[in-house]
Subunit: 357 residues, 4 copies
């Protein structure tokens, strides 16, 4: 364990890259809410591969089929299960990986943990493909949050060494390549193309903002919004760092620079700046919640790499086959939104317990 997330809402992801199907069960969804399945599919499509030059040529329809929990398009209160059948798999690409782990992948650690019976094909349960069910759950949470006026959207903040430091704009979410600065976006795509041309890959940073979240979400210590969101985000393969507000940059500041002065705005308490990313003491303060996740470069690269034969314990060279994204960051954008939406909706449900008190 645990492929489950959440305490008020519980999202359980199952499946392996090449198993019969992948899917998700969500317990705790509120009955009576209509889900816009077409909108959900559009959200899923943002994650789907094969859409452009910088993603893997694999084509995956990634159309969720609902086994339970939804009736005539409306949540019925029972656990919701949706699956995506795996149809376009080429397991032959992975035969060598049974004994030779790919550097940077979970191949070796899965072998240590589960032994030779683990499903190595396509990365098994550790495959980035498992973010598809995460997006089903997250896409539903996004719709439930939107009903309450809470929106979650993300942008590409950097690819390799190319930064997009322009301030967030809501319209970024509608772009195919979601950067605020189009110039930065083009430079990023060039960086991806260059890495691909070299048989290499490149990492990046996704930044996500939550607007409209009421003050008071999140709980002390281990259930603060930072803990909750980080727990969800590190569930996305390749995430190696998570920061809120100014994050690591805040460590270089003085208190007088980093503290956000309280002001009164439209008759309500607000802050003049937002270095804290909308979270104080783990609890939302009503300002935009801002989080960034650092993605390492895709470990599957075309270049020959050094590995080890697990059966002979001899070092050997490995050339990874199969079809891989030179940069998963663009496809990770909706995954970040999904993870954050699940975390925020779980915290929102928690906050409801005490409304009547």
């Amino acid at each position: 364990m645990s492929s489950s997330y959440g305490t008020n809402l519980r999202v359980t992801v199952f499946g392996q890259s090449h198993s019969e199907a992948i899917g998700v069960t969500v317990e705790g969804l509120p009955a009576g809410h209509a889900i816009d399945l077409a909108a959900l599919q559009r959200f899923m499509d943002r994650r789907a591969p094969g859409r452009n030059a910088y993603s893997t040529p694999r084509k995956e329809a990634d159309v969720p089929q609902f086994l339970s929990g939804i009736k005539d398009g409306v949540l019925c209160g029972a656990p919701l299960t949706a699956v995506i059948y795996n149809t376009n798999t080429r397991s032959g690409d992975y035969a060598e990986l049974a004994t030779t782990p790919r550097p940077g992948h979970a191949d070796y650690t899965a072998y240590v943990k589960y032994g030779p019976s683990r499903d190595y094909a396509g990365g098994g349960h550790f495959s980035g493909r498992l973010t598809a069910p995460l997006c089903i759950a997250g896409g539903i949470c996004l719709q439930l949050l939107a009903e309450k006026g809470i929106t979650v959207f993300a942008r590409i903040r950097s690819i390799g060494t190319v930064q997009d430091d322009a301030p967030f704009t809501a319209s970024v979410g509608e772009k195919d390549f979601p950067t605020v600065s189009d110039a930065a976006g083009e430079a990023m795509q060039a960086a991806i193309a260059a890495a691909k041309a070299d048989g290499d890959s490149v990492g990046g940073v996704v930044e996500c903002v939550v607007l409209g979240a009421p003050a008071g979400l999140g709980d002390p210590m281990f259930d603060g919004m930072e803990n909750r969101i980080a727990s969800a985000l590190f569930g996305i393969p390749a995430v190696k760092g998570v920061e809120f507000g100014d994050g690591f940059a805040a460590a270089a500041l003085r208190g007088s620079e980093n503290n956000d002065p309280f002001i009164v705005e439209n008759g309500a308490v607000a802050t003049a700046t937002n270095h804290c990313g909308g979270i104080l003491g783990g609890i939302t303060n009503g300002m935009p919640l801002i989080v960034r996740a650092a993605f390492k470069p895709t470990p599957s690269i075309a270049k020959e790499q050094q590995s080890v034969d697990l059966t002979t314990l001899q070092e050997k060279k490995l050339t990874v086959r199969g079809r891989h994204d030179p940069c998963i960051v663009p496809r990770a954008v909706p995954c970040v939104e999904a993870a954050v939406a699940i975390a925020v909706y779980d915290a929102w449900l928690e906050s409801q317990k005490y409304k009547e008190n």
Copy 2:
């Protein structure tokens, strides 16, 4: 909720800065292990305030008293509860804070969440003082891990803009001001002194390494070592970012740079480099586990700041009284070790379930 952490081991922290006592209950500790209480106290002392020029002049003995779970110095299998009575409190320092939240603190969000009944004195349950019971639990886990050859120690990696980029050495843990480079350490102390002289504060980064952890700790998706450790670390007040291995820097790399080649060393699989920080797919690979936590500057500063009167909704000036650290990073070092130790020991217990299988 939740002031509890862990699934195999459950650590529940209670208390407010000025309540009768603060403390911790730990369920799931293994019976039969002797705890070196003197060593635990030395560990606690590293966190205690009042020891030097750059920490608050408050003197807190911070001596845990054990109410249960330990008998004749040996864990007996029952839940362990230890408390520290609050004796040296000056609540008068905090009277104004009943209506005027300190910028950068949880004062405002606690008020929104819990209403006027929340305990604002000294920051209540959100006080950094609550890291003392965390250190009791973590100090015990450190000893249990040490029995298995697993050691956890941390260093100051940066204070403000001063970095200590020297490679980790084990002896850093024995220093009063735990930097590898003494020159960097002196520059950091000067940065703290300068901030203090300005009535200001400064942040920093703590880096922690886990040595001797076997490959195979951690679980997929939401219970990976990154999720587990981040969940614990964000429980320490002021942490705004957490990263593993190269972390955010990995986002700027190419796969060929970031992937750690597998090699055979002393007849075992190892990696030639350690960009991943000892974690692949959420699971330890047997290399040193490396994590960094970014601490924002202490929000309590002597400078006058802008706040709001919560009863009148008028903006007003606030000068925070009380005794505060100009930089909490030095005292946070053992807290980081404690949080990481708890997370690693919880994962270790998890891994034991499948040993016989």
Copy 3:
């Protein structure tokens, strides 16, 4: 929530009686164990309807299809998901139940809890059909326990007023109608037939024994074997009481009668009697673990009953249509074994954490 059970093993049941499919996800299964799928199917068949005169004439193949978690018949460490597609549903039978709750059923309480969007067809998520996925999970746990020499089997202890008080025998599990006394079994079948002839139903008691469980399973207070097993058993629809050892009868005894004297048997500690049902302080003592579950009579009966129209709040008469068991106790026998096996295996995993200590 919660359609999930377990802390070391987590079993999540999903589906509604008439949804696309029902199924189960099991997290925490140990990798490397071969599952005997034919044996699992035989176990499932014991629960399946339509096999004889005293069960519903509905025919349900109830053949699990594995979507994930198992590869070439061997557990691979990833979450296991198995589904059973719903094919033989006659929703028309249930149209009236949209507004008229069946007495003794969850129809009314599901309406109150989830509103008009709840899936009422066939009882929705509250249907006894959901015990099929429970049996998939339980059937796997039975096999894993058997590897360790732990066996779980149940018998019919009573149907209506007919008791089978003969001492447990292992061979009872092989019978089609699992009573120890064949005479009692025949009288029970006659009682079921009589109830059916009257358009009525009848309840009963299932008794389950766990043999071979080592002393030391279970935990104090809220995770004792009684708590764990009761939590699982009350997950089976129609269970209204659970007792261990002498159970309610023990309340009428004196301590000198109820205490089980300790003896030495084959060089090990045992007890001369087993009034406690193998559990002391929530922890197994190495003697047979004995538990009984009381099943109320099937609420769906052919007789006209009094109900209420939920839309008009007028009382009205209801005649339940559809195909229903006059007694679910015989089919509940494997369900009890499944629930107990899951609870015991979860406790066994817990106990492994401290083996090395």
Copy 4:
């Protein structure tokens, strides 16, 4: 684990019979509610020993001291911890028990589970004394439920073979010996006195009713009210059976007898009878919730018993010393109320999550 209960509210009990203190931490209590500490103490006093002829002559003040979570008598939102210091212990009474387990007690199983380091004095963490902190938590929940018009009270239903089958009356809660029928109560006290005179003990059944609970509390499958309440009740030492409504008696009924006809009463849906004990499909239906717990006779009796020396594995005779209740049922009445109140309040919090939806 687990000495913790609850998902929305989390109650963690700590302490051993002879440790420095016993106590409880409750997370998730709503801020802003005043707690009537005098009423809480009166509730605690109902459990306290030494009050009359049929309980142990030990005198324990059992006055909770609040370490955190409450300020000026009002819940402040932080985890509440209350402790009772152990002052009146006579550990010498227990010296022989280090090697000789008392029949019917957890002495042996605690030894198996935790080894020689377990705290055997007074039963350690398995002592009935641990119900005192349970009553602190439960007493607070009773007050919170009362604010919502939900009341919980229990009666003695039987002692030994003496039954009190008179219908429940609210005033039973005010009696020193809470039976409805005074004649039955006198016969029960005579049965206790007779057992005591024989150096023996006797068991009994406590029945608890919850009035005013709204329809809709509880969740499907493993979080039904039956599962929730049984999980809490089996946390009380000596409980060996739990049943709801007609419970085991329902197993002997026909559906036409056991189904509760729906009626309209005061413009609302009700049932004409209440065989189901107010719970259908795990969810409250608005009728009185009825549960019974069977308590085995106190295992500590004055009569000589057969045990085993754990160090030599030789059988030996044991005469239990110390001061023990000949019947714990009267003192268990508030414990049952406490456990039920905690379970109901936890379910109530759960139900609040979906109020706004």
